[in-house]
Subunit: 201 residues, 2 copies
DNA sequence: GTCTATATTGGGATAGAC
DNA sequence: GTCTATCCCAATATAGAC
């Protein structure tokens, strides 16, 4: 047994890596990838930047670990694997938005890196392009099921619902990051679902 | 008379400054502010970075010039000063979106800097916070007038219309930058107006 | 596993010649 | 107005001692 707890010299490498990934997610969310420094990340863990690089060979590798971690946490929170009733689909998305609102850090990480990834030669461009395509597909599947059950508003196609939901969600989060008092992400999303569906949220 | 044309040694300082601002807008849009280098900007103009700094004392000053230039161009395109008929308000916004779609560089500049400005210690944080507040007010005024004329959809408040329009617009532009084939900004905006108003767009 | 020391690169900015 | 040369600083990454 090599991991004996969360602290102390026998805490283990796995725990240290977890600490680093968490700190990196914080820093990348606050400063972006390029402007976020390994020194800052290492400082929050209480080690030197060169020690950090002992665990993750390069900044790029660390970024990938952070993104992979976020994907696995999101999947866990959403339970995409379980079947979701068409009528429950909007409510499931609202729950995810509420969970994000309670963890402001994840909003920054996602929103800042998303926009940064549209710049030239950005290491996470492919990641976000793939991830947005996947999200669009997931949304489309959910709204397709709603359409079949007659739960979409008149003249709203599943495609339209998927694209507009993703757009309004991202945009609301950006506005919230810029000025937290100016907008409530969950309320905007509820209003959107009220307009494009026939179910209560 | 010191400015005799667009090229040649007597082109004038004003023309050179214009070239620099245009190149800076390109580079900041493609790479963001922090990652965009003065060397890159100067290279596109055909001068050295130190020559650039002769015209604009620092990178920060150049950024402010770029943002001020964008504001004045937008104001010119929108003609906010002239009165807009309530029924024409959505169409006016669509025109602006169409104009942006024709100048992809503008979208990158705005969207990338907007998200970057949410990171810690960013020099344009105040600018974008103020600008978004102003835009929200402008939108609110337009939708208020529509509400008075009975042109908003049922159960849609002017406040809701303003916030959601800004969010869906920003979000759609981000998606477009990430993957230009995946979304059409103007179509998403049209769909949104179709749902929140009673006018044809 | 962590540190110190260092290599290397690239950034913004200044001084001074022309 | 523009260039070359230079300064200073911060960053990622590596080497090697402990």
């Amino acid at each position: 047994m090599t991991t004996t707890g969360k602290r102390g010299p026998y805490r283990g490498t796995a725990a240290r890596r977890r600490e680093i990934v968490d700190a990196a997610a914080e820093v990348f969310g606050e400063s972006g990838y390029r402007a976020g420094s390994l020194k800052d990340i290492a400082g929050r863990v209480g080690i030197d930047a060169s020690s950090l690089l002992h665990h993750f060979g390069s900044k790029h590798v660390l970024l990938e670990a952070v993104l992979a971690d976020k994907v696995s946490r999101d999947a866990q929170a959403l339970h995409w694997d379980e079947e979701i009733e068409p009528a429950e689909f909007p409510a499931a998305l609202i729950r995810l938005a509420e969970r994000n609102a309670a963890n402001p850090g994840v909003i920054g990480l996602y929103t800042v890196l998303l926009a940064e990834s549209t710049t030239v030669d950005h290491p996470s461009a492919d990641f976000f392009r793939d991830r947005h395509a996947t999200t669009r597909r997931d949304f489309l599947r959910g709204f397709d099921a709603m359409a079949e059950a007659g739960l979409l508003a008149e003249d709203v196609t599943p495609q339209e619902a998927a694209l507009s939901t993703l757009a309004i969600w991202d945009g609301a989060q950006t506005q919230w990051l810029l000025d937290p008092g100016a907008i409530e992400v969950v309320a905007v999303l509820r209003g959107h679902f009220r307009r494009i569906t026939r179910v209560e949220v």
